[in-house]
């Protein structure tokens, strides 16, 4: 949309073809870019191309020649609503009703959607509550949220704007900014305590991306000493309800996405199903005590020190799946080489340690061929260590190479059409255009680098590995927000 706006402002008439269900998003983006009257037509999702264009090829060309209406000739200034600091005055009951008000979103939603919340009751953000929340940071309430250090990222917007001191623009599309107080208001609403606020402020640097058309789920992992200080659950049920810090911080991500980012289903958040991990937010902490010897925690992997705290915000574009081992089967594999997993790995009758990740490889979905974020219990990590991986990096290298496949098979996946720009881009390991590669040339299926994948240790005793289908998240320092 910025491109279309640039052309229109330069005197070049344009017309936009977009999918019909995304009309609200087009209008919102157009307004934010200063061209609210943009001319656009709807494309459908069903008809074959030649039939599809019959419906709009003439109107499309007419959009370039039909004289402008008076409204289209207008210039002016759009003033946003609801920018006052005090949003509501009343009793707590009245305030609860006010914050839970909804707006009806027409197709493709056709249901009421909460304006200020995730759909559930909130803690009312009175001045008193917010003042108390602000005791959790040394930063001033009116300070804008800025990057506290240069940010390196595998996902999201470009690194060029994620420089220390730059103001964070919240997402998905209307680029709002926020103060420390605004973040504190959302933290109060979610049920946070003041000691959670530095973590929440660090998360705010992510811009709380939700994705526009993708089914992103947001996975927020805390690493470093603050996890124990604020009582986060790193063990059994860490993704389940129950722990106040995990739950409230995770929920704050979603409230910030709604209120600071302006994310609205059917308007700017178009994933058809959404994701259950976003329902109440997903935040947990790394189990540093479960790391095998010499394996680094997320903070050290991200360039911070062991005694520094970070929050890693990852977007799993394809959601989550689980490599569970049915009762006793992992233990049978490792203790004596019994069972189906042992047969699958070709180690029948041979005691472990065995590389159970090789078993997992057979079940990865074909959708977005990028790195993977693994959340594995300490015992599974320990088995990888005993097998021979003396660092996480060695696991990343092994996993990445194990995912290589010949180009003839890679062509049968959907995402590479986009990743390779229709097979016209240069393949990195060969320096050749993708379309020029021979059928048997081997290419990675899980990202350009071994380090796009990420291992997090956490959980209880059952031998489980959650698989978040998205690459390594971006790390944001927490201590700068204390």
């Amino acid at each position: 949309m910025p491109y279309i706006a640039k052309l229109e402002k330069a005197g070049i008439p344009t017309v936009l073809i977009d999918l019909e269900d995304q009309r609200h998003m087009v209008k919102e983006w157009a307004l934010m870019m200063g061209i609210p009257n943009i001319r656009y037509l709807h494309a459908g999702r069903i008809l074959p191309g030649p039939e599809e264009i019959e419906g709009w090829i003439e109107p499309m060309l007419e959009a370039l020649t039909r004289p402008l209406t008076d409204q289209e000739k207008e210039s002016g200034k759009w003033e946003p609503l609801n920018q006052q600091r005090i949003l509501f005055e009343g009793t707590l009951d009245e305030a609860q009703d006010f914050y839970q008000q909804t707006q009806y979103i027409p197709s493709p939603v056709n249901a009421p959607i909460s304006i200020y919340t995730d759909g559930l009751p909130i803690i009312v953000p009175t001045e008193e509550k917010v003042r108390e929340m602000l005791t959790g940071t040394s930063h001033k309430p009116d300070e804008l949220i800025t990057y506290q250090h240069d940010i390196e990222s595998y996902v999201g917007v470009g690194a060029e704007i994620r420089k220390k001191g730059n103001v964070v623009a919240f997402q998905p599309s209307i680029w709002r900014t926020a103060t420390v107080e605004k973040v504190a208001v959302n933290a109060v609403m979610a049920g946070c305590k003041p000691e959670h606020l530095p973590v929440v402020l660090a998360i705010a640097q992510s811009g709380c991306f939700t994705g526009t058309t993708a089914n992103s789920c947001h996975v927020v992992t805390v690493s470093g000493p603050i996890a124990k200080e604020i009582g986060m659950n790193t063990g059994c049920g860490m993704l389940n309800p129950g722990n106040p810090a995990n739950a409230a911080i995770g929920r704050t991500y979603e409230l910030m996405a709604v209120n600071l980012g302006g994310a609205v289903p059917g308007v700017s958040r178009m994933a058809s199903h959404g994701n259950s991990l976003n329902m109440a937010g997903t935040c947990f902490a790394e189990d540093v005590d479960g790391l095998p010897p010499d394996w680094k925690g997320l903070n050290e992997e991200s360039g911070f020190k062991k005694n520094e705290s970070v929050v890693v915000v990852a977007l799993a574009g394809d959601g989550e799946m689980r490599q569970g081992f049915p009762p006793g089967t992992h233990r049978a594999l490792q203790k004596s080489g019994h069972g189906g997993a042992a047969r699958g790995l070709g180690v029948k009758g041979i005691p472990g340690p065995h590389n159970w990740l090789a078993y997992l490889l057979r079940n990865l979905p074909q959708s977005r061929e990028v790195g993977i974020t693994f959340l594995m219990v300490a015992e599974l990590a320990q088995k990888l260590y005993e097998y021979g991986f003396k660092s996480k990096d060695e696991v990343y290298e092994w996993f990445w190479k194990a995912t290589f496949e010949p180009v003839k098979d890679f062509r049968l996946r959907a995402m590479p059409d986009l990743m390779t720009n229709g097979w016209m881009a240069i393949e990195k390991t060969s320096g050749k255009q993708w379309k020029e590669l021979s059928d048997d040339y081997m290419v990675p299926t899980r990202g350009d680098s071994p380090f796009e994948s990420c291992i997090i240790i956490g959980g209880g005793e059952e031998e489980e590995c959650e698989i978040f289908l998205g690459p390594r998240g971006t790390a944001y320092g927490i201590d700068a927000w204390r």
């Binding site: 052309l7 200063g34 289209e72």
Partner: protein, 93 residues
């Protein structure tokens, strides 16, 4: 009674700056002889048919193409913007 106490409640909504809005570019009197760019971002099922049809049905237009398989369009260069008379963005996601 405590429940009747009136509280001032703060605004969780982010800071949105006013937006200067602009008129659309003046439209063309005719397409004949004009340089119209077709900016393609994926959706080959639609865009292959569209490109073919435009060239056949509107031969007097000087059609130009910029093709990407990704959602991000390939922008016109500064030089191209000097001669472009119009642009069709198809299909934007």
């Amino acid at each position: 009674m405590a429940e009747k106490e009136v509280y001032k409640c703060l605004n969780p909504v982010g800071i949105q700056k006013p937006v200067d809005t602009f008129p659309l570019a003046t439209r063309l009197n005719t397409l004949d002889g004009k340089e119209i760019h077709l900016s393609i971002t994926g959706e080959p099922d639609i865009n292959i048919a569209l490109e073919k049809r435009l060239k056949i049905d509107y031969p007097n237009v000087n059609w130009k193409q910029k093709k990407s398989y990704t959602p991000t369009p390939i922008p016109l260069s500064d030089e191209e913007m000097k001669t472009a008379d119009g642009l069709i963005q198809s299909v934007c996601w």
